[in-house]
């Protein structure tokens, strides 16, 4: 009995530590208070500011577009790379795998800084072209796509591919119709991972972004140093919106996973 109470206390304690700050901020985002702790009336003005201030809207849209663009490129490159490496000779494959591991274990500060040195300082590419920023984010994300596709290739039944060739399919057709569908779950989770990595990035963006462009992370970090109260509290609203989006996404995913499980059990 006592043991059970302890177990519940641990779980509840950690959940409070993880969620209480976000929850309290969410509650205060619906008031016109400038600081946590002040008791003020209900207000939606933070949400109005968030969605009507051009600077804030541009920053949110920019972050989303960057995440989407970089993730699409990273997914294509990483998937093709994984297929290529999987069918290459051991030596070539291990070179690719080793290079792939570098951005994974490396600190993002070092990744961002080194890409900035090469592209901006040595090659003289202007940051305003967005090339360093996109290249940086693709470098950050593609290795994780690669890593989530490789296990699916290993699980794949290779005899189906050979059967397709025997039945007259060209290697290209067999790849598109046999291999890709089998590794699709890996591609999808790699893409989702790429999106979250790009959305959460601060370091690569700081070292490679144009001066006039901001992602959510770089904007928030600069805004907390400034003293503009209405911007500060509008970011509470942004935090709440993202929190709700993540909760909604998780609920949908969990329900769908549960349904699939049931169907599989039923069949």
């Amino acid at each position: 009995m006592i043991r059970k109470i302890w177990k519940n206390l641990i779980i509840i304690g950690i959940l409070l530590f993880l969620y209480l700050p976000i929850m309290i901020l969410a509650v205060y985002s619906f008031t016109d208070a400038a600081n946590i702790g002040a008791v003020r009336g209900f207000s939606l003005h933070n949400y109005v500011t968030l969605f009507t201030t051009p600077e804030l809207v541009n920053m949110i849209v920019g972050t989303l577009l960057l995440a989407l663009g970089a993730s699409v490129i990273a997914t294509i490159l990483g998937t093709l790379g994984a297929i290529g490496a999987f069918y290459s000779k051991k030596g070539a494959a291990s070179v690719i795998m080793t290079m792939n591991q570098v951005p994974v274990v490396n600190a993002d500060v070092v990744t961002g800084f080194s890409i900035c040195i090469l592209l901006v300082v040595v090659l003289g590419i202007s940051k305003d072209t967005y090339i360093p920023l996109v290249a940086g984010h693709v470098t950050l994300c593609a290795p994780f796509v690669f890593l989530s596709v490789i296990p699916k290739l290993k699980q794949m039944d290779s005899s189906i591919y050979e059967a397709a060739l025997d039945l007259g399919a060209t290697p290209f057709t067999a790849l598109v119709r046999i291999v890709i569908p089998q590794i699709l779950p890996g591609i999808v989770s790699g893409f989702a991972l790429a999106i979250t990595l790009s959305l959460d990035d601060y370091f690569v963006a700081t070292y490679t972004k144009p001066a006039t462009f901001d992602t959510i992370s770089t904007y928030v970090v600069n805004a907390t140093k400034g003293a503009q109260t209405n911007i500060k509290t509008a970011l509470w609203a942004l935090s709440t919106v993202i929190f709700l989006a993540v909760v909604l996404f998780t609920v949908v995913m969990t329900v769908r996973a549960g349904k699939e499980q049931k169907e599989r059990n039923g069949a």
């Binding site: 177990k7 779980i11 700050p21 080194s114």
Partner: protein, 264 residues
């Protein structure tokens, strides 16, 4: 006419080129810059400068201090949590795990903002406890990365081993100390490397919580702001060396990459 023959191997060529240009080449440029001065001459000054300046050495030790404290706090919080989660027979366990992972998907700067507002309210001013606040902030940020690998290894443990230990007369405590704990070490090591290294470099948490001291990551930031590419490259290289050393020490035991595995 030369007929193009499609091969699956050739699909890897674009990615291999990409890795050469954006992963390998930047590293070589980094090494070149770290060992040259502004006029392009070879020099060891960036290296000796780092290890003879009390300020930069102090930063190195302070980074280790912050990272060590953060790792200990995360471990103390994460191990019991992962253990309880793995041992629970709840049917909704997978949902519970999702709830522990979910914070990783909320932008970290916004989460630190939330923590900062709460700490300001509780402490009056963040200036009173900069070290404590930083360790709290980093633990808040990195805790899920410690819970997940430990949870994964404990839940994969063979329950028969525990039963065998009990049949042979071990008490609960003894069974935990001599079966569960040693077998969960790979998860602990993987979690430690997921927390320790970012804690040495994520200077944004430090900045946002108004801790005016420096960690290794902040040094790169300050050289970057001063356009000192040579000094910055040396710091990046030293940091890379620490990362390599740490990865070699903990490698082999790491089963899967959790930053990636978290989503599946």
């Amino acid at each position: 006419m030369h007929k193009y023959r499609f091969s699956r191997k050739s699909l890897g060529v674009p990615y291999a080129l990409f890795l050469l240009i954006f992963v390998a080449a930047p590293l070589f440029v980094l090494i070149y810059y770290a060992f040259t001065n502004g006029r392009g001459q070879f020099t060891l000054q960036n290296l000796t400068g780092f290890f003879s300046d009390p300020n930069t050495l102090g930063t190195l030790f302070y980074s280790f201090g912050i990272a060590f404290a953060t790792t200990v706090v995360c471990l103390l919080l994460a191990y019991p949590t992962a253990y309880v989660l793995a041992a629970s027979r709840l049917r909704a366990k997978s949902v519970l795990i999702m709830i522990f992972i979910m914070p990783m998907w909320i932008n970290f700067s916004l989460r630190i903002t939330a923590l900062k507002e709460i700490l300001t309210w509780l402490e009056g001013s963040l200036a009173y406890h900069p070290f404590l606040n930083t360790v709290l902030g980093m633990s808040y940020d990195f805790l899920p990365f410690m819970i997940l690998p430990i949870y994964t290894t404990i839940s994969k443990l063979d329950g028969a081993l525990l039963e065998a230990a009990k049949d042979l007369g071990a008490g609960d405590a003894q069974a935990f100390l001599r079966v569960t704990l040693p077998l969960s070490l790979p998860g602990v090591i993987s979690g430690v490397s997921m927390v320790f290294l970012p804690a040495m470099t994520n200077y944004v948490v430090l900045d946002m919580l108004y801790n005016s001291t420096y960690i290794m990551g902040s040094l790169i930031g300050s050289y970057f702001s001063a356009y000192n590419w040579h000094g910055g490259s040396m710091i990046a290289l030293i940091l890379l060396g620490i990362i390599c050393l740490f990865t070699l020490l903990t490698g082999g035991m790491e089963e899967e990459n959790t930053r990636g595995g978290a989503l599946l």
